[in-house]
Amino acid sequence: MVTGQVLIDGTAEGPLLRLVEPISFWGGVDPATGRLTDPRHPQHGVAIAGTVLVLAATRGSSSSSAIMLELLARGIAPAALVLGEPDAILALGIIVGREMGYPAIPVLALPPAAQALLPEGMLRIAKGGGISAA
């Protein structure tokens, strides 16, 4: 088991989905379907709903928090986010979502080198930031 830095605490379970290249949620994720929509991204078309989404880096628009909020409102958000470094923009969408009464998801920061060691398959996130195979 590894432990990530807790940005938003919580529990979750879902299949690991590792983004092989950075993405901007705005322009890169369709808020109506939860699929990756940037045709330049190698995982174009993949659905992120329900996954433990592992991102080494994010990029681009500050509107990504709005996309995150809409994914939560529609119930098609990832089960958890594991970011390469603390990022206020995506986590902000979750903080606002909690104020609006939408279900929150845990967000952890874990350096890319440690992300690379996460096992493929189902992962479980525990309170306090523990990540283990489910």
Binding site: D38, S62, A66, M100
Partner: protein, 409 residues
């Protein structure tokens, strides 16, 4: 404020601010003197509900606050082709932000609509191009605030004291040497978006100092550089030695410390970055529309367009996106009527990559904007061809792609 002394809307905004500040490891909040809000663009009903909750609970901005683009062109009804329900939710969102006391500027270039904080001023801005311009060109201080944190900061006049608010994070850690590039290339308007696109892809969110650029760079070129760097990467601040206010010399830009990285930029690296801005098949001469104005077109850019068009008439749709402040100026000076006759379609309050405006049939979109080139394909389905403003005009007059390649080879 979080205790509710200024009402429930401010209390909610303060909770969001405090929680975000704690997550970022900020030891405190900093007082800000202005805000630019990006959260007013409709991405789904959740954003409308958030803004309406703040407004219905009595929220009112505490500092001068401009608004970024919305999803509708309020001056040209029918320009945006939403279904009626989406249009209504987008309109309600724009109304809610006005009710919160924001200035209905509806532009991604507020700094060219009278909103220009001073050197060293702490502000709270959203919209990545506005943030990078504010930090780099004006020398005011803001982080790249995510949507919703911008309005929370405006309501509370506070922002987390982290990142680019602090001296130590504003020094350049990367030095980019452009001296190997020709002076003629550096005089091209099309050079700066490409430089920005390369920079963002190369350094992500780092702060760079660029050396070897001309001492007099037009403001619109700095705007284009920043916008491209903030979309291909997450650049929030750059320094150009001898040009931007915090970089009178290299030592000032780096804080006198050795850079973590030094990069010598070559013409080949830049050409590769330029080619990445075009997603249409190489060598295609098909073109279905042109879009300019990301960030929103300035008065100077309209003057350049006016000179290039002359008495010509476009064979394909040519969209120019701008703010209502600039639109008012070109209406008064006669350019609006002249350019309209040439076939320019004006888009205000919004733009062609954030709202359904372009022809539904799709095809190839030509642009001089690194930001449009970055977002047009994922957001609109159009393939892109990148060129200078002169290339865009020549292509729209000819009805096929016409690019002057000489300086890039």
């Amino acid at each position: 404020m979080a205790a509710g002394s200024r009402g429930p809307a401010i209390a909610m905004a303060a909770r969001i601010l405090n929680e975000t500040a704690a997550m970022l490891g900020a030891e405190r909040l900093v007082t800000v003197t202005s805000s630019h809000v990006d959260g007013c663009l409709y991405h789904g009903d959740s954003g409308t509900h958030f803004a309406e909750r703040l407004a219905s609970e009595g929220g009112r901005v505490a500092v001068p606050t401009t608004l970024n683009v919305g999803a509708l062109d309020l001056l040209h009804p029918g320009r945006v082709q939403f279904d009626p329900r989406t249009a209504e939710m987008a309109r309600r969102m724009m109304v809610a932000y006005e009710q919160l006391g924001c200035v209905p500027s509806w532009t991604c270039a507020p700094y060219q609509a009278g909103h220009r904080p001073a050197l060293g001023e702490h502000v709270a801005w959203g919209e990545s191009n506005a943030v990078v311009f504010c930090n780099s060109v004006l020398g005011a201080r803001t982080n790249r605030l995510g949507d919703f944190l911008d309005i929370c900061a405006a309501l509370c006049a506070r922002a987390p004291y982290t990142g680019l608010h602090r001296d130590e994070n504003r020094r350049a850690r990367v030095v980019v040497d452009t001296r190997a590039l020709s002076d003629a290339l550096k005089r091209l308007d099309a050079f700066y978006p490409v430089l920005g696109a390369w920079l963002g892809a190369e350094i992500g969110s780092d702060v760079a100092a660029l050396i070897g650029l001309p001492a007099a760079i037009p403001e619109d070129s700095l705007k284009a550089l920043g916008a491209a760097a903030a979309s291909s990467g997450a650049v929030g601040l750059f320094h150009i030695v001898g040009v931007t206010p915090e970089a009178p010399d290299l030592a000032a830009a780096t804080g006198g410390q050795p850079p973590a990285r030094s990069i010598v930029l070559t013409a080949a690296m830049l050409r590769a970055a330029r080619d990445r801005l075009s997603t249409a098949a190489a060598g295609t001469d098909r073109i279905d529309a042109v879009a300019v104005g990301s960030p929103h077109f300035s008065l100077a850019e309209f003057a350049a367009l006016d000179r290039l068009v002359g008495s010509g008439r476009f064979k394909i749709p040519f969209y120019a996106c701008t703010g209502r402040a600039v639109l008012g100026e070109i209406e008064r000076n006669g350019m609006l009527a002249r350019l309209g006759e040439a076939g320019v379609e004006f888009v205000t309050d919004t733009c062609v990559v954030v709202a359904p405006i372009l022809p539904k049939a799709g095809g190839v979109l030509m642009t001089n904007s690194g930001k449009f080139a970055h977002y047009a394909t994922p957001n609109t389905g159009f393939a892109t061809v990148y060129g200078s403003l002169a290339d865009c005009v020549a292509s729209a007059l000819a009805g096929r792609v016409t690019r002057d390649e000489r300086l890039w080879s």
